[in-house]
Amino acid sequence: MQYSLSRSLNQHLAILLKWTILLFFLVFTFVPLGWLVLSSFKTNFEFETKPFALPAVWQWVNYVKAIQISGLPRLFFNSILVSSLSTVLNLLVSALAAFVLSRLRFPLQNAILTTLTAGVLIPIIALMVPYFSIIRALGLYDTLWGLIVTYASINIPISVFLLHGFMRTLPKELEEAAVIDGCSLFQRFSRIVLPLSQLGIVTAGTFVFLYCWNEFLYAMLLTSSVASRTIQLGIRFFTSQFFIDYTAMYAAIVITILPTVVVYILFHDKIVRGLTSGAVKG
């Protein structure tokens, strides 16, 4: 009797502990973000005096100010351009490589694959000086193209890894039929393997796009003028642009976060798949 009682007490404690842990991390993930969003709707006076209360009047004007002061439209345009072109360029070169590395058999194949994917071992921040020199030498300093080429290249290892892993699983028979029908190598790629790899391409593409959208260091190092400033670098200048108008600045930050949250909500299953594709053996 006593045994079963203590056992059920333990079970209750275990359930309590379990939900405490889960809730703690949920709170940690969302309360700071929620506080930021809430603050972005307040007056600066409210923000300093009642930091945890709801705004008396929701200050949508902060968002209007945010867009006017920060030059957000230009920053958004640059970031969208850089992120999408980097992603397309990266996927194109990576898919071409992943195709021959996964669908054909030839000497040195494994060495090439290993070399390309081993790029993930290199801390990209260690390459600040050479990237700066290369982009200058190519005449791409302070241009969006400089960022596009850099981002597309940095993400080659991850994309080749994901696309190779995906293309490897496609059945061989499809291509055999195509070869009998006289398809060229490029037709096998563009008409058969590429359309069938859509899922892998979306997964890799989501990763690359988010990386480009969020990248900060090289956006800072490789550009100097407002014309080629991306959104992340723009956020850095908010502090001086908004001066002491904190709540309008938070509104600007919230606006910059929104697109990634939307992308995440739309593609979160692809992201989870991409993250776990290499994690589980067999």
Partner: protein, 298 residues
């Protein structure tokens, strides 16, 4: 005829298909690697010709207390992530693997901060840790601990722990990787042990943890590698201050580069690369071979 066509090596096509990737990979991985190691042996301001100075940059770095402090901080980062974040991520993953109510929602939510830029996250924490209007101090005042309020990022004792803590508690990335591993364990293992009267805790200790060994080792290795290459949050929140107390190797590299000390900057870069690879190789060999996942970014 068809089969031989499929198995003949179409060299021309292969070279054409691999050409774009090779050009970019050479330009942004192979050449920069050589560049970092070679320029690291010179004195160079980026304008006049580099002068070969042998290992002098490295010897200078070993005498530089700020650099040594930065290396120490990098190791604190690596240990905090490897021994702090990974166990927390594993704990949550093991809970979610038993599919409690709303586990999919929780999995999605825990990962969300990982898709938000480090710049935005850092700006948020700057606001939270701020001495005058920061949410943390206001919260402490609210619950009657106002005397604990301080300038969290501005004081030497609290700056490093403050940056590390917010980063360690974002467990989403590794939690998802470990969770995938935990969910791949055949449920028959648990059913069999249940018949033998094993408790939940016993099942986790004697089934889940040993089965996850490979993934945990990989995650720990990755987390420590991230710790060594840590840069962004610190750069954005304190830029290495106050009094270099939060500095890491990446910050020192950046500062040397800003002062046009390219030789020294690249010596730090090569130290970063070598240490990173070393940590991965050593951990793999001591903790046992890890399987699968090989994706590290940044």
């Amino acid at each position: 005829m068809g089969r031989t066509a499929l198995h003949r090596v179409p060299w021309k096509g292969i070279i054409l298909f691999l050409l774009p990737v090779s050009v970019l990979y050479f330009l942004f991985f192979i050449y920069p690697l050589g560049f970092v190691f070679i320029i690291g042996l010179t004195q160079w301001n980026g304008v006049t010709a580099p002068q070969f100075v042998g290992l002098r940059n490295y010897l200078d770095l070993l005498q530089d207390p700020t650099f040594l402090l930065s290396v120490r901080n990098n190791f604190i980062w690596a240990l905090s992530l490897g021994l702090g974040q990974i166990p927390l991520a594993a704990l949550v993953a093991m809970i979610l693997a038993r599919k409690p109510r709303g586990w999919k929602f929780l999995r999605t939510m825990y990962f969300l901060p990982n898709v938000i830029s480090q710049v935005a996250i850092s700006m948020m924490w700057i606001a939270i840790y701020n001495a005058e209007y920061g949410a943390l101090n206001k919260l402490l005042e609210l619950v009657g601990y106002g005397h604990w309020a301080r300038n969290w990022l501005g004081e030497i004792e609290t700056a490093l722990p403050a940056i590390i803590l917010q980063q360690v508690l974002y467990i989403g990335y590794f939690m998802i990787i470990i969770l995938a591993g935990a969910m791949a364990i055949p449920s028959s293992f648990y059913e069999a042990s249940e018949i033998d009267g094993a408790s939940v805790v016993q099942q986790e200790l004697y089934i889940t943890l040993p089965m996850l060994r490979g993934i945990l080792v990989t995650s720990m290795t990755l987390a420590m590698a991230y710790g060594l290459r840590h840069f962004e949050a610190t750069f954005l929140m304190t830029a290495g201050g106050p009094a270099n107390s939060t500095s890491v190797m990446g910050i020192q590299l950046f500062n040397n580069m800003s002062f046009l000390r390219y030789g020294r900057a690249n010596a730090i870069g090569s130290a970063l690369i070598v240490l990173g690879v070393l940590v991965i190789v050593v951990l793999r060999n001591t903790l046992g071979r890890s399987e699968g996942i090989s994706e590290i970014q940044q």
